[in-house]
């Protein structure tokens, strides 16, 4: 059941990467999913897809993997935060 939910959320995230009119909708979805699912590595993959699709120009001194690195940082931060909370501590 949890795996089915995870696959559905993954599909929604992918559609949001391609079709959501505003980037922060995708970021909110990813944060929610990282809280909801255990070891949500898809956040890093989603960052990579965002970078590959839209990346370019002089943003962040021309660094091409802004979303991927942000995904990694967000993953570590949220996982650490989850461990500190009573609700997720058992995971």
């Amino acid at each position: 059941m949890i795996m089915t939910r995870r696959i559905i959320v993954d599909i929604v995230v992918i559609l949001s990467i391609f079709c959501a009119p505003l980037w922060w909708i995708t970021v909110c979805l990813l944060v929610f999913a990282t809280f909801f699912f255990k070891r949500y590595y898809e956040i890093i993959l989603a960052g990579l897809i965002l970078d590959l699709l839209y990346g370019g120009g002089a943003f962040f001194w021309g660094f091409r993997f802004v979303y991927t690195v942000s995904g990694m940082v967000l993953y570590v931060a949220l996982t650490t935060f989850k461990k500190q909370t009573r609700f997720y501590a058992g995971e």
């Binding site: 505003l22 590959l52 699709l53 839209y54 990346g55 120009g57 002089a58 943003f59 962040f60």
Partner: protein, 279 residues
């Protein structure tokens, strides 16, 4: 009596676990090194970018098609009276704009004739492109357009809106799509002419259609001044919106905006200089 067996078994399991952990770490290490090598040496970025771009273009084209269908359906079910009212209003607006443009067109043609008489042909070969994804969809401030190698688009080609407003440059070309970095993209530097005296300077993108310029305080620039790209055929980039002058600073900060909101751009023109259009 001392029983040794459980302790031995525990040791054996601990050793097996340790061995498995070493195996896991070795595999992770080699996979990471492999992925990094692909990215750095074997144009992995280009390969992955092309693959993701290929999938995305199909999805975006389907989305556009569905959007057009939905728009058509919505027009069908709207009341006839509201459509007639809107039509009348739009016709009136169009008439007023056409009158205003008459003068501009005459001057433009005269300008072209004069340049041609002086031995400079300034008519560019442009090709129309539809915007598949806009700057709101990422922090990068890029546009994805629906033409690429199939129409002869190359890296560095300039992108226009409404014929005379320069908005960006092509930075990546795929088979059926291209990536355009807007001049207002964060950190992007563009040479521009500003003010009545056409002072040459460099504008820095600040995202969301905003730019900044720093100029000595004594140079006369006013709010509303036009900002152009240099060239025989000057293209509009934006208008000065705000000037920040501090008594302690010998420079002033000039903020200007795009003429058009790039999030609402649906069609652009790509300038194909000295090239034949393949299709």
């Amino acid at each position: 009596m001392i029983i040794y067996y459980p302790r031995l078994a525990g040791d054996r399991f601990a050793s097996m676990r340790k061995q498995r952990n070493i195996q896991k770490r070795t595999i992770t290490f080699f996979v990471t090194v492999g992925l990094v090598s692909i990215f750095l040496f074997a144009d992995g970025y280009g390969f992955l970018s092309r693959s993701v771009g290929f999938m995305a273009v199909s999805l975006w084209k389907t989305q556009n098609y569905a959007g057009n269908l939905w728009g058509g359906f919505r027009n069908l079910v709207r009341s006839k009276k509201s459509l007639v009212d809107e039509n009348t209003k739009l016709k009136e607006d169009l008439r007023v704009l056409s009158m205003k443009l008459l003068d501009r067109n005459l001057l433009f043609e005269e300008n072209l004739d004069l340049k041609e008489a002086m031995g400079r042909s300034v008519l560019d070969r442009t090709v129309l492109a539809s915007v598949l994804a806009g700057p709101g969809q990422s922090l990068y401030d890029t546009l994805i357009i629906d033409i690429g190698e199939d129409f002869g688009v190359e890296i560095g080609d300039e992108v226009l809106y409404a014929g005379n407003i320069m908005i960006g440059k092509v930075t990546e070309v795929l088979k059926r799509s291209s990536k355009v970095v807007l001049f207002s993209s964060p950190g992007e530097l563009t040479d521009v002419l500003v003010g009545d005296e056409k002072i040459t300077t460099t504008a820095k993108g600040r995202a969301g259609g905003n730019y900044e310029i720093r100029l000595p305080r004594d140079i006369a620039i006013a709010e509303g001044d036009v900002v152009l790209l240099p060239g025989i055929m000057p293209r509009i980039v934006g208008y000065v919106e705000y000037i920040d002058v501090k008594t302690s600073d010998p420079f002033k900060l000039i903020l200007f905006r795009d003429v058009v909101d790039s999030r609402q751009v649906r069609e652009v023109e790509v300038v194909l200089r000295d090239k034949e259009i393949k299709k």
